[in-house]
């Protein structure tokens, strides 16, 4: 009986400790969830509030009356749809360029056994450490001398030369494809281009999708590029246009938050459709890049 009581106490002690642990775990988790989520909810909440309600002393996350017309107004205050079209145009062409070129380069650096392979890869890796600012001015001067500043060309054409970052992701993926598959095609006399196009690319669809997503996200959100190269307002992208909700003295916060929500939506939607691919992509570049 004595023994039973002691054991019972021990078990209860352990159980208590376990409960405290679980409680603590989920407390931290919920606290962090709130930290990440609250700003977004605040943005959403502001986007459907009336101006009067935004600037009142008593704060409610859920507005008294939903003002969805803020979204319609946001579309009119700045030429939102035009900017969205411009952004989409640049983004789609960047995705096309990247998908056309980067896998080719990655193929050369992973599956073709040629003399320049190692050197080119090392140089490619080291360009990742090169600050944007070092090349920014001379590249601007090149476009200026060609009379292309103010056009979309400086924001699109470079994608058709491939970016180191994407080439590294793709190369990493290509390395996992067994050489034997390619070798047997080579013995059958298939040309290197056919092997690349008919065998390699179909096998690497997941990696191509992550590159497409990354390119979409980065181009859609890019700020510095359009800031430097787009001089006329009718060519602006959304990232540049957002500041137009602010004038010298007032900011149309409800419209700005509505516009920011609409600006973010495409990325969130893509993220939810391709979440696993996306996170895998981030992880491969981070872990092995």
């Amino acid at each position: 009986m004595e023994v039973g009581v002691i054991m019972g106490r021990e078990v209860r002690k352990m159980l208590n400790k376990k409960i405290v642990n679980i409680f603590l775990k989920y407390f931290i988790l919920i606290l962090m969830t709130a930290m990440f989520l609250f700003p977004l909810l605040f943005m959403l909440s502001t986007s459907v509030k009336s101006i009067n309600e935004i600037f009142t002393k008593s704060f409610h996350l859920i507005p008294e009356v939903f003002h969805f017309e803020n979204y319609a107004n946001a579309l009119k205050t700045i030429p939102y749809l035009k900017y969205a079209g411009n952004t989409l145009f640049i983004t789609v062409l960047n995705v096309v360029g990247q998908l056309l070129i980067s896998p080719m380069v990655a193929y050369s650096l992973s599956k073709v056994d040629w003399i320049g392979k190692r050197v080119v890869f090392v140089v490619l890796l080291s360009t990742m450490l090169l600050p944007y600012q070092v090349t920014m001015i001379p590249v601007y001067i090149i476009w200026h001398n060609l009379g292309l500043v103010g056009s979309y060309v400086p924001l699109i054409l470079p994608a058709f030369f491939g970016y180191a970052f994407y080439i590294i992701i793709l190369r990493q993926f290509f390395m996992t494809i067994p050489d034997s598959i390619l070798e047997s095609a080579r013995i059958d006399g298939a040309s290197e281009f056919r092997i690349y196009w008919n065998i390699m690319l179909p096998l690497c669809k997941p990696a191509l999708i992550s590159v497409a997503i990354f390119t979409f996200m980065f181009t859609w959100s890019d700020f510095l590029g359009p800031l430097i190269y787009l001089t006329k307002q009718d060519k602006y992208t959304l990232a540049l246009g957002l500041q137009q909700y602010m004038s010298q003295h007032t900011v149309a916060w409800e419209q700005l938050m509505a516009a920011s929500t609409m600006f973010t939506m495409p990325i969130i939607i893509i993220f939810f459709f391709a979440q696993r691919k996306f996170i895998e992509g981030v992880v491969t570049t981070g872990l092995k890049g």
Binding site: F42, F59, D113, L124, F161, I167, Q243, Q248, G286
Partner: protein, 308 residues
């Protein structure tokens, strides 16, 4: 055989050619061109005019140059470790035995999807002294919130806070690295009676140290180029395209001042000088980190090998 070898070499080169050409046009040539510009007086519209070391002399006497450098060093020296540690904490939290891990991972990652301009403008609103979320919460617990973006002492910490909110990318990378740490190591340590803290110090951190090194270098380079958030915030206060560095120039970062010199004052030579100084500083900083952390990183790799 040799004919085949030549063919393979040709194909290899052909496939890599677009990037190689791009590297010469957008990489190598501009690197040296900007070095050349840094020794000239150049405003885009007239031919560069050789002035020797004048730009560098000008920079070393420029109060704002030092200001921008020290602002940036603050972000790299304080912002980098704070962000990395926070990313690691988030990853550790997600790596606990919890239900619905992928749900929480999605929530933690969500803010990192918001375009940086939208995120920054949203935070400008959150930092609003009267009606912003942050001060509403502070008021709720009985504190009087400061005017975050108007106080020169608080502007940089505010920016670091925005950075913590968008910590998703290093977070998921750490999480993946944590999940790669062999379970047996923890089991063995448990049998030896090690507590959670000892496991973190002796197993987890050494096992992911090479990932850590890579993340630190990336964060460092990013912080040296810190631009968009500062540009948006300084622009949010008033008119566009005015070269501003925020209250008391407290968020005049290196890349922002470089941009002002290049595209507002059209002092391309001076800006190119700044670019090259940045190039050298990031190069040295990266080299130093690799050197000092090198031993640590190798230890981690050895630890993993032994485990296998």
């Amino acid at each position: 055989m040799t004919k085949n070898k030549i063919k393979t070499n040709l194909y290899g080169l052909l496939f890599a050619l677009p990037w190689i050409i791009g590297f010469f046009i957008f990489g190598l040539y501009p690197i040296f061109k900007s070095l050349y510009y840094s020794f000239t007086d150049f405003n885009v519209f007239m031919e560069p005019n050789w002035v020797g070391l004048d730009n560098y002399k000008d920079l070393f006497q420029d109060r704002l140059f030092y200001k921008s450098l020290s602002n940036t060093l603050f972000m790299t020296a304080i912002g980098t470790p704070v962000t990395i540690v926070f990313a690691l904490i988030c990853a550790l939290v997600l790596n606990m035995e919890i239900k619905a891990r992928s749900f929480f991972r999605t929530i933690f990652f969500l803010p990192s999807l918001v375009p940086i301009v939208a995120a920054t403008l949203m935070w400008v609103w959150i930092f609003n002294p009267k009606y912003g979320l942050l001060n509403i919460i502070l008021k709720g617990v009985g504190l009087k919130g400061p005017n975050w973006l108007a106080d020169p002492l608080l502007t940089k910490p505010s920016l670091i806070l925005i950075g913590l909110w968008t910590v998703g990318v290093p977070m998921v990378i750490f999480l993946a690295a944590l999940q790669d740490v062999p379970r047996e190591l923890y089991e063995a340590a448990s049998m030896d009676g090690a507590n959670e803290w000892r496991k973190l110090i002796n197993i987890t951190l050494p096992s992911i140290s090479h990932i850590m090194l890579y993340q630190v270098i990336l964060a460092l380079i990013n912080n040296f180029q810190y631009f968009t958030q500062a540009y948006v915030i300084t622009g949010a206060g008033g008119g566009l395209n005015v070269a501003s560095g925020g209250p008391a120039n407290s968020i005049l970062f290196y890349a922002l001042y470089l941009y002002h010199n290049a595209f507002v004052y059209l002092k391309m030579g001076k800006a190119s000088g700044m670019a090259w100084i940045l190039f050298i500083i990031t190069g040295i900083a990266t080299w130093l980190i690799v050197k000092t952390y090198g031993g640590w990183g190798n230890y981690g790799k050895r630890g993993q090998k032994n485990a296998k």
